[in-house]
Every structure is written in structure tokens, then in C-alpha cells.
């Protein structure tokens, strides 16, 4: 028993602590009931489902999956989400890490102003400017186009720039200077030295933004109206819009949509947490 853990250990098994733990278990049981229920219901027939929303499966069927995949184009929505998220993420990571590196590594006039300038987006969510953004995107002909979405997601770079900057600023200058003496060019230094040593930061920024872009509903709702470019969140929303007719389909759609994000969650929640707290607690 380490002495420094005295306080923690002492606190953990008092009657109050046990009561709190029980309350937390009850609260957690909501999620642990609802999420498997979604999957369970996706295998029920439509009529079974309506009379038997909370019971076990009486008649197993894959009809709902068949309907959304064969009759509708659900795999297409899934592919769209994967493609859009990956492309936007690549662009965001590249642009924001370069930007943060430029801000941290070089001393120049106006640097402090720029650092604050890039922080503004944390205060004012990008949704506030959606109307002018919509007009710009329409004028350059990029509605219903993933390129437009990639630009918008890339513009939302305040937090990534902030997290990257904190990391790059903390690197010893010697690292950079020795590379310069070796005769390496600026871009070579960035891609050969800086990127490899900042892998954890890339993971942190990447996972956090993966979740945000993958789950985004507002931007696709405004910019992606055609069926060919519909993302998962929009696809699900469309079924829900007429949910009395599509009640059984939503369960299948939601179950499919949850699989990738739950895998991400299980593998990478550590990075997600560090992204959520990055910069929030610094003294």
C-alpha cells in the first residue's frame, strides 16, 4: 500500500462511497440496457417489434437489414460517412499541424496576435457563420459535394491548432537546430522529425475530430441534400422522420451505424479523453 494512496483508499469503501457506487451502477445500466436492446430489436419482425419492443426475440429475421441494404442504399451512406470523415480528417490534421508548427517554431512579428486569432473558433462555433458559409459554398458550386464539406471541417481548426501548438512549443529547440545544421529543409524537418515524434498528439486530435465529424448532423443537413452524398446520420434521420412506418428499419440502421464508433471507442477512448481535456487544465 503506497502512502500516497492513503486518502484514496480510505475514501473508497466508506458507506457513502458504496452508496454512490450503487447509484452509478444503476445509472450505467441505462446505457447497458438500451444499446443492446437496439441490436436485439433489429432482428425482430415488424409486427413482433410493435407488440414486443422490450422482450426477447420471438421471430428472428434479417428483413430489416435486407430492406435498408438492398432496397435502400444504406451501405452507400456508410461509405459516404467513411470517405468524408477520412478525407476531412486528413485535411484537418495536415493543415492544422502545419499551421501550429509555423506558429510555435518561428518568432515573427504578429505571432501573438495570430495565436489568439486562431483561438477564436473555440469561442464561436462554426455554426454561427453557417449562412454566409452556405452562400460561399453555393457560389463556388460545392453544395452536395464532399470537397465543400472537407473545406468546412478543415476550417474548424482552432482546437487542433491549440493542441498541436502546445506540443510543438514544448519541444526543445536543439532538436530543430541540429536538423538545420544537418542541412535538412523546413518541410523535411517537419515531416521526418516533427510528425514522427508527435504521433500521440496526432492520435489525440485525430480521434477527437473523427468522432465529431463522423457524428456531425448539422453540416450534412445543410449541405448534403442529394441522396448520393447522404451520410449515415442523415440516412438514420430520414428513417426516423417517418418512424411509425420505418420503426423496424431504424433499429437495423442504428445498429450498423453504431458498430464502427463503438469499436473506435473501445480501442481509442484514452486518446479521446486526452483530446477532451487538452488545454483545459493547464497551470
Amino acid at each position: 500500500m503506497k502512502r500516497t494512496h492513503f486518502e484514496k483508499l480510505r475514501g473508497s469503501f466508506s458507506p457513502v462511497a458504496v452508496t454512490v457506487s450503487v447509484i452509478f451502477f444503476l445509472y450505467c445500466s441505462i446505457s447497458l440496457y438500451l444499446i443492446p436492446l437496439l441490436a436485439l430489436n433489429s432482428f425482430k419482425t415488424k409486427s413482433d417489434l410493435i407488440n414486443n419492443t422490450i422482450g426477447m426475440i420471438r421471430s428472428f429475421t434479417l428483413d430489416s437489414y435486407r430492406t435498408i441494404i438492398v432496397e435502400d442504399d444504406f451501405l452507400r451512406y456508410m461509405f459516404n460517412s467513411v470517405f468524408l470523415t477520412m478525407a476531412a480528417l486528413t485535411s484537418l490534421l495536415l493543415v492544422s499541424s502545419l499551421c501550429a508548427y509555423g506558429l510555435s517554431r518561428y518568432r515573427f512579428k504578429g505571432r501573438n496576435f495570430l495565436r489568439i486569432y486562431f483561438l477564436l473558433g473555440m469561442m464561436f462555433p462554426i455554426q454561427l457563420g453557417i449562412l454566409p458559409i452556405f452562400i460561399i459554398i453555393r457560389n463556388i458550386g460545392l453544395t452536395n459535394n464532399f470537397l465543400g464539406m472537407i473545406l468546412i471541417y478543415t476550417a474548424n481548426l482552432s482546437l487542433p491548432v491549440f493542441i498541436f501548438s502546445n506540443f510543438f512549443s514544448a519541444l526543445p529547440t536543439a532538436l530543430y537546430e541540429s536538423a538545420v545544421i544537418e542541412g535538412a529543409g523546413e518541410l523535411t524537418i517537419f515531416f521526418r522529425i516533427m510528425v514522427p515524434i508527435s504521433k500521440p498528439v496526432f492520435a489525440t486530435v485525430g480521434i477527437l475530430n473523427f468522432v465529431m465529424i463522423w457524428n456531425d448532423f448539422y453540416m450534412p443537413l445543410v449541405f448534403l441534400t442529394r441522396k448520393e452524398v447522404r451520410t449515415l446520420t442523415l440516412g438514420i434521420y430520414r428513417y426516423m422522420n417517418n418512424f411509425l412506418v420505418n420503426w423496424h428499419l431504424v433499429f437495423a440502421a442504428v445498429t450498423l451505424a453504431l458498430i464502427p464508433i463503438l469499436i473506435m471507442f473501445m480501442l481509442f477512448s484514452r486518446f479521446l479523453i486526452s483530446g477532451l481535456t487538452a488545454g483545459a487544465v493547464k497551470e
Partner: protein
């Protein structure tokens, strides 16, 4: 050689600067320009000065919707700051002292955070739908059918239910910020206080709470922005109109209806939509300035006491 190339920082910063400026910063200001026009989004823009603003604040029908939506946003901010945030701190406190099952609690409380708002909205329907929702079925099955309710269909209940659903999804973010801050607090100090006979509450109040200043400032600001920019879940659960009697209408929904949904006397009005977003921007700006100046001053005072503990 490259050392002499002093301008290379420009090449690094330029792509981000251009995209960020065009799609993030300039729109906040060009919205002001559009707000002076009557414009459906297509066809000619007609300059009408401050008429959109006058309509927003004084038109009988529109101003009612505006104040209701804004009121809901502020009500939600109050709920976040007075209920959700203390709960986040409460959870963080017990996870930090490693109560029984803390890793499990931490993981499962975090889980809904990665689930998209459309799915969370669907779960809300699954639970609260008056006809086929879990709660009403359950109440009927255990003989409490009299307590069945329309839930989101009842304007008196919709707002509270919405707050529950939204916090179920998002509670973990602030909790982790508190948790990260709590981890940094000196165990030796807490032990010394324990040996001196300070109980749980005293240790929390006089050692932990003063040290939580960075997390508190962060969560107050992030929570306020969270409350003022709600869109997804109210939209999915209550539709574009913001639920029955606009009980879960918010500024962003109001904006969406008028800018993209054709609610302005039957037509899409980009001009009026821009007006709503400009007003929301100014409100967020004002609240942010107030909070930052107030919080930094208040905590500077408290902080100077804390240092001499």
C-alpha cells in the same frame, strides 16, 4: 541555409490561415451584411436597413418566437451551470478517489458521448414515445398505467426531458476536465488535512475546490456555449418547430427554420436568418466577455488566498 529563410513560417501558416479566415472568421462578419437585406437566397437582394432587426424584436409573431427560443437557451445554460456541472464534479470526485467499479463507471458514463445525436434522439423516442415507448409500456406492465404520459408531447415535461437526454449524451466531457484537474491535486496536502482531522467536506471545500479553478473556468465557458448553441437533439426529437408549443425551441432551430426552412411568412429568408445568427453571435460575445472578465477577477482574489494554505 534554411535558417536564412526567415519567411518559411508563412508557408506553414498560410493554408490554415486562408481556410480558417474564409470559412470561420469572415462569415461571422458577412452575416451582418446579409442581415440588412430582404433576400430569399435567390434573386435580387433588397436593402431594408434595420427592418429585420425591428421584426425580430418587435413583430408580434416573430418576437414571441425569438424570446421564447432565447429564453430556452438561457434556461438551458442555467440548468447546465447549476445542475449538470455540479453532477459532473460529483462524478469526477468519486471516480478520482477510485470508488468501487470506478473504471466501469467512467467508461460507461463516457459511452453516450461518442453516439451521434440522431441515434441519441432515436433512443429518446424509443424510451419516451407515448405509444410504443419503453417507459409507458413498463408503467402499464407494472400496473401504474395511470402514470403514463405523452412525455415529449407534453409541453410541461418536454424541456426537462430534453435536458436529461442531452446531459446523458454529453455529461462526460466536463467530467473529464474536472477529473484531469483533480488528478493534479497534491495527495500529501490531502493526507495532512486528513491527519489533522478534516472530514470529506472540509477537504473538498478548502483544498480541492480552490485548486479546481482552471477546470471550473473551462467548464463554465464551455457549458455556456453548449447551452447557447443547442441544435441536434431538439431538432431530432421535436422537429423544426421545436416541439409542441415550441417548448423545446432554441435559437439555432429558430435560425434554421427561417434561413433554410421557409418559415418567414412562407418563404426562405436568408436576410432574416442572418439577423438571427448575428444576434446570437453578439449574445455569445457579450456573455463570453462578461464571464471571462468576471471569472478571472473573482478567481484571482480567491487564488491569492488559496496559495497560502
Amino acid at each position: 541555409m534554411s535558417r536564412l529563410n526567415r519567411k518559411s513560417y508563412l508557408g506553414f501558416i498560410a493554408p490554415g490561415f486562408v481556410i480558417y479566415t474564409i470559412f470561420m472568421i469572415l462569415p461571422l462578419f458577412t452575416a451582418v451584411y446579409y442581415s440588412f437585406f430582404k433576400w430569399s437566397g435567390l434573386g435580387p437582394k433588397i436593402f431594408i436597413g434595420f427592418e429585420n432587426y425591428r421584426n425580430l424584436f418587435f413583430d408580434e409573431r416573430l418576437s414571441g418566437i425569438f424570446w421564447n427560443a432565447l429564453g430556452n437557451n438561457f434556461k438551458f445554460v442555467v440548468v447546465i451551470l447549476t445542475i449538470i456541472m455540479p453532477v459532473q464534479l460529483f462524478i469526477a470526485y468519486w471516480v478520482d478517489i477510485k470508488i468501487f467499479g470506478y473504471q466501469f463507471h467512467r467508461t460507461i458514463i463516457f459511452l453516450p458521448y461518442v453516439i451521434s445525436s440522431t441515434i441519441v434522439g432515436f433512443l429518446a423516442m424509443l424510451v419516451f414515445n407515448p405509444n410504443i415507448g419503453i417507459i409507458n409500456i413498463f408503467l402499464k406492465n407494472i400496473g401504474l398505467g395511470a402514470y403514463r404520459s405523452a412525455w415529449f408531447g407534453d409541453p410541461d415535461k418536454a424541456f426537462s426531458l430534453l435536458a436529461i437526454v442531452i446531459s446523458w449524451q454529453g455529461i462526460a466531457a466536463g467530467m473529464f476536465i474536472f477529473l484531469a484537474n483533480l488528478k493534479g491535486i497534491s495527495q500529501n496536502l490531502l493526507e495532512a488535512a486528513l491527519i489533522d482531522g478534516a472530514g470529506r467536506w472540509l477537504r473538498f471545500r478548502y483544498i480541492m475546490l480552490p485548486a479546481l479553478k482552471p477546470a471550473l473556468i473551462n467548464n463554465i465557458i464551455l457549458g455556456t456555449i453548449w447551452g447557447l448553441t443547442q441544435f441536434d437533439i431538439p431538432f431530432v426529437v421535436g422537429g423544426t418547430q421545436g416541439g409542441i408549443n415550441n417548448s423545446i425551441d432554441f435559437m439555432n432551430l429558430f435560425f434554421y427554420r427561417y434561413a433554410f426552412g421557409g418559415s418567414y411568412y412562407g418563404e426562405t429568408s436568408m436576410g432574416f436568418g442572418a439577423t438571427i445568427s448575428v444576434v446570437l453571435f453578439l449574445i455569445i460575445l457579450a456573455v463570453a466577455i462578461l464571464q471571462i472578465s468576471f471569472l478571472t477577477r473573482k478567481f484571482e482574489k480567491d487564488g491569492s488566498e488559496g496559495k497560502h494554505l
